[in-house]
């Protein structure tokens, strides 16, 4: 079912049209096989990069597309509606550029950002460690200063694009202070001493490589540190706010894809002499799927518009991530229900959607952590505010 959208410019509308064309022609024919064979579709990212889709929310003068988050997220959604792993990958790539774009010096930005946003390269970010996921400040991976370089030693868990990426945004400890002892580095993928473990064997999102990265005395020039020493955690956390919006958009896309498949099936499949959509009990299931998905989209775009207007959006980003990913879990589960026994087989994609939805409640901050963010904001008190669009 085509989605009703409202975008700010004609070029945004054309961009979404291009995204749908790429999704239809380049992603749709490949997704089922790549996910079944657990193959990372590196070529697909090159195609998207060539079309300019890997740098959309960044400034034009630094090689980006100069698009507001409101538009970028709808592009992500259209990609994820066809292939969640690729949607997640585009979001992660964007996040891996976020530290440089927001905390890097002008010189650092001019040196690396155009290449990182140019479409040929793919990024990853390393925050989590095996014992430090929800609590990243518990991290132990260390960077020790040595002349005009740092030497990084430790392990980073769960790295999306681990072993595939051309560069890694890495958060590591430069002192023992729990929150102000963490610094952020941009590490090239071919750095000596950097290696990836065999990929995790996951329940879903199998086309996306997730791997533990080992740092065994990796030497990184000091000018690859983003921001001051000790500023790494705030950089990582502000990146996560933006990243959460990305995952929210991906979850909206996934839910929309599941709804579309379920709807098409419900119009074809007959029981008791009529298409199953004519049974009210089943039709209401579809109505709830549509209501949840449109609500999740609206919340995600509301948070994006706050971000675009330069207003605080951290709480709304957490709510969007929470609502959109819980909705994706529910909608994909219900899509399996709509397809009945067929939905439970690997011959139809809805069981895969269901497996893909689960991880969205876990990464980029589990949904318990999102509730933590929201409830803390509530406890602190949230000022009422009416901002006026310029």
């Amino acid at each position: 079912m085509p989605v009703q959208r409202l975008v700010p410019t004609q070029e945004a509308a054309d961009l979404l049209e291009l995204t749908r064309e790429l999704a239809r022609e380049e992603l749709a024919p490949r997704v089922a096989q790549a996910e079944a064979e657990e193959q990372f579709p590196r070529e697909v990212f090159r195609t998207l990069g060539k079309a300019g889709l890997l740098g959309l929310p960044y400034a034009e003068e630094l090689g980006g597309g100069g698009q507001p988050y409101e538009v970028y997220l709808q592009v992500l959604e259209e990609i994820a509606a066809v292939w969640a792993s690729v949607g997640v990958g585009v979001s992660v790539h964007g996040l891996s550029c976020f530290g440089l774009a927001t905390a890097g010096t002008r010189e650092q930005q001019e040196r690396w950002l155009p290449e990182m946003l140019g479409g040929e390269l793919l990024g990853a970010y390393c925050l989590s460690e095996p014992h430090a996921g929800s609590d990243p400040a518990a991290m132990r991976t260390k960077a020790v200063r040595d002349g005009d370089a740092y030497v990084i030693t430790g392990e980073k868990a769960w790295t999306t694009h681990g072993g595939q990426a051309d560069f890694y945004k890495v958060m590591v400890r430069t002192s023992e202070h729990r929150s102000r002892g963490i610094s952020c580095f941009l590490v090239p993928g071919d750095a000596a001493g950097l290696s990836a473990d065999p990929a995790e064997r996951k329940m879903g999102l199998t086309g996306s490589t997730t791997a533990l990265m080992r740092f065994e005395g990796v030497r990184v020039d000091a000018d690859r540190r983003l921001g001051a020493e000790g500023e790494g955690l705030p950089i990582a956390l502000s990146g996560l706010d933006a990243g959460r919006l990305g995952i929210a958009a991906v979850a909206v896309g996934l839910a929309q894809g599941a709804l579309d498949d379920a709807l098409a099936y419900a119009k074809e499949r007959e029981t008791f002499g009529v298409p199953i959509i004519d049974h009210q009990g089943l039709a209401f299931l579809l109505a709830d799927m549509a209501a949840g998905t449109e609500t999740a989209r609206a919340m995600t775009l509301h948070a994006a518009r706050l971000k675009d207007a330069g207003l605080p959006y951290s709480r709304q980003a957490s709510i969007a991530k929470l609502v959109a990913t819980d909705n994706a879990m529910k909608v994909t589960t219900d899509a399996v229900q709509v397809l009945g026994g067929y939905g439970y087989t690997r011959d139809f994609p809805v069981e895969r959607y269901m497996r893909e939805a689960k991880v969205m409640q876990i990464f980029e901050g589990t949904n318990q952590i999102q509730r933590l963010v929201v409830s803390r904001a509530l406890a602190k008190g949230v000022p009422a505010q009416t901002a006026v669009l310029a």
């Binding site: 070029e11 054309d14 291009l18 300019g52």
Partner: protein, 259 residues
């Protein structure tokens, strides 16, 4: 080499298309309109020739105001500028009338090469390039699966069922392209942004010096008098395997010219 690509905006052939019951013309306003698929090959070929020979690619379309979508797509793929002929009086024109309008528009442009698709997915007359060739007095190299440009010499492999014909002509000429000729590029976001700044000139019939009375439904050489919906799909052919199933299947595919 200056190239003009003829581009038509048509209702998306992947959707249920309608005729307007008031005058039996194609319902365009209510349709999901896209660039004629075959014309993307023509654009790609024009861009490829430009990349090797230099020059400019101009997009020419005759169509209602909404046809700007097709123009923007062509410009975002890389064409340099566009001419859009739009005039209420053209509504309902047949292929012969349309060709007079396109020929008049072409006469106001400098071109060495005109490239168009082999057919449109709405009219499907497949005669536009031949009509233009006649009106402009330039050679027509039709159904190209390959085009080579060597100075002012054009060489075309014209696709046929069993192989190809080798055609050759001097510029200026018109080439119609088949969908085997290339793989059209996707626009890029950069291209979309650049397209915003490219010149699009809108022309009326008066600008072209075409008398409005000679075009339009009233004087069309062909008119749709009546139409009916497509009959429901009939029974398919059932092949029973009596040891010769494979042969029968191949025979069927061959009879449909699919293998």
């Amino acid at each position: 080499m200056n190239i003009v690509v003829l581009v038509k905006q048509v209702p998306d052939s992947g959707t249920e298309r309608q005729l307007d019951s008031s005058d039996n013309t194609v319902a365009r306003a209510s349709a999901d309109n896209v660039i004629n698929e075959m014309d993307e090959y023509a654009i790609e070929e024009a861009l490829t020739v430009k990349e090797s020979q230099g020059g400019e690619v101009t997009v020419l379309t005759v169509g209602p105001d909404g046809a700007t979508d097709a123009i923007r797509k062509a410009l975002s793929m890389g064409a340099d500028k566009a001419v859009h002929v739009s005039d209420e009086a053209i509504h309902g024109s047949c292929a012969v009338q349309t060709s007079a309008v396109i020929a008049a528009a072409l006469s106001q442009l400098e071109y060495d090469l005109v490239i168009c698709g082999a057919e449109s997915t709405d009219g499907r007359v497949s005669v536009m390039p031949a009509l233009l060739s006649e009106r402009l007095g330039i050679p027509h190299l039709s159904g190209a699966r390959k085009l080579t440009v060597d100075g002012s010499t054009l060489k075309v492999e014209r696709q046929t069922d069993g192989g190809f014909w080798a055609l050759e002509a001097q510029t200026p000429a018109i080439v119609s392209t088949w969908d085997t000729i290339n793989e059209p590029r996707y626009p890029s976001f950069k291209g979309i942004m650049a397209a915003k700044k490219k010149p699009v000139e809108t022309k009326s019939l008066a600008d072209l010096g075409v008398d409005a009375g000679t075009v339009g439904l009233a004087t069309a050489t062909s008119q749709v008098l009546d139409f009916a919906g497509r009959p429901p799909k009939g029974e398919g052919v059932k092949v029973t395997d009596e040891g010769d199933g494979a042969e029968k299947l191949v025979g069927f595919l061959a009879s449909q010219k699919l293998v």
